[in-house]
């Protein structure tokens, strides 16, 4: 991290304050752009994998057995996916990813980790009481669904293949990819029809 008080940081702040005073810009609009880039552009790589797995059984089989080589073929930029493992959610099995030690995360397919992923509370509680934590995050799973928690490390990164939503049979691969969220690929949400 660059020092907050770097000349560029101060000049940026000055420009933003002037633009806001002149009613040319709002801080919220700037936040929205940043959110789009950090939460949509990166995770779209993972979403493409998920949508293809939903529509192409052979691809799905390969993704579940050897995600690392599948991702290599896609040539997403950057590192951090030396070893990627994909876990498939079913009615009986749910998967959720954490990094208990720090914040290991498959950047290449999910972009930047969300702030809560690094939060000590998430990192410890998702292991000790996953059902409760998921419920707090808005994901209520049936008691009959087993929850599997996967601990990312420097060596292995996990990606969750969420359940394909019911009623999505008519959608194209691209339309499906649009629905897949970052949170669903971490395993703290499900994919819903829009």
């Amino acid at each position: 991290m660059t020092d907050h008080a770097s000349p560029q940081s101060i000049r940026t702040e000055a420009i933003e304050s002037l633009l806001i005073e002149k009613d040319l810009l709002t801080a919220d609009a700037v936040d929205a752009v940043i959110t789009t880039y950090t939460e949509r552009v990166g995770p779209m790589n993972g979403a493409k994998l998920v949508a293809r797995a939903w529509t192409d059984p052979d691809f799905k089989a390969r993704l579940l057995t050897d995600a690392t080589s599948v991702v290599e073929e896609y040539q997403f930029e950057g590192g951090q996916v030396e070893k990627l493992v994909v876990r498939e959610c079913t009615a009986l099995d749910h998967h959720v990813v954490v990094c208990t030690l720090c914040s290991c995360y498959p950047w290449a397919v999910l972009g930047l980790p969300p702030a809560w992923y690094k939060d000590p509370a998430y990192r410890s509680r998702i292991v000790s009481e996953p059902r409760q934590v998921l419920a707090e995050m808005g994901l209520n799973l049936s008691e009959s669904t087993q929850i599997n928690v996967w601990d990312s490390s420097a060596e292995i990164r996990y990606l969750v293949l969420p359940k394909r939503p019911e009623g999505s049979e008519a959608l194209s691969e691209a339309e499906l990819a649009e629905m897949v969220t970052r949170d669903a690929m971490i395993g703290v949400a499900q994919v819903h029809l829009p």
Binding site: T12, E13, V33
Partner: protein
């Protein structure tokens, strides 16, 4: 939503990793967000901004040897491009930006920054 997502490519592409733009400090994401937001709200066409950025990148490359170019300060140039464009469009004069910057720089140490959401890579 995707229409404006990939407007920076080729010579104006920002530093990327994993399909993600690398912001090394919060100000970098702020200046990026401002430039995009102003174009989305019609204050200028994105191509106008892009032309300024291309110019600043070319200037920088001409002033630096090939060895020095490994780590070119993309967002420093981005900030300069936005400053020039705002000035040329009479949106915010360069002099105004300079005096506000000086005023902010003189704030007491430990000033609490408003925009502090970090998005540096933690690894």
């Amino acid at each position: 939503m995707t229409d404006h997502l990939f407007l920076l490519d080729g010579e104006t592409a920002p530093p990327m990793a994993n399909g993600e733009i690398i912001f090394e400090a919060p100000w970098q994401s702020r200046v990026f967000g401002m430039a995009q937001s102003l174009s989305q709200t019609g204050h200028y066409q994105w191509d106008e901004f892009r032309a300024y950025l291309i110019e600043d990148i070319k200037d920088w490359e001409q002033q630096h040897s090939a060895e020095e170019r490994g780590h070119y300060p993309y967002f420093d140039l981005f900030l300069e491009s936005l400053t020039r464009l705002l000035n040329d469009k009479s949106m915010v004069a360069r002099a105004e930006i300079q005096s506000r910057t000086s005023a902010f720089a003189e704030r007491p140490h430990g000033h609490d920054h408003v925009h502090d959401q970090g998005n540096g890579h933690s690894h």
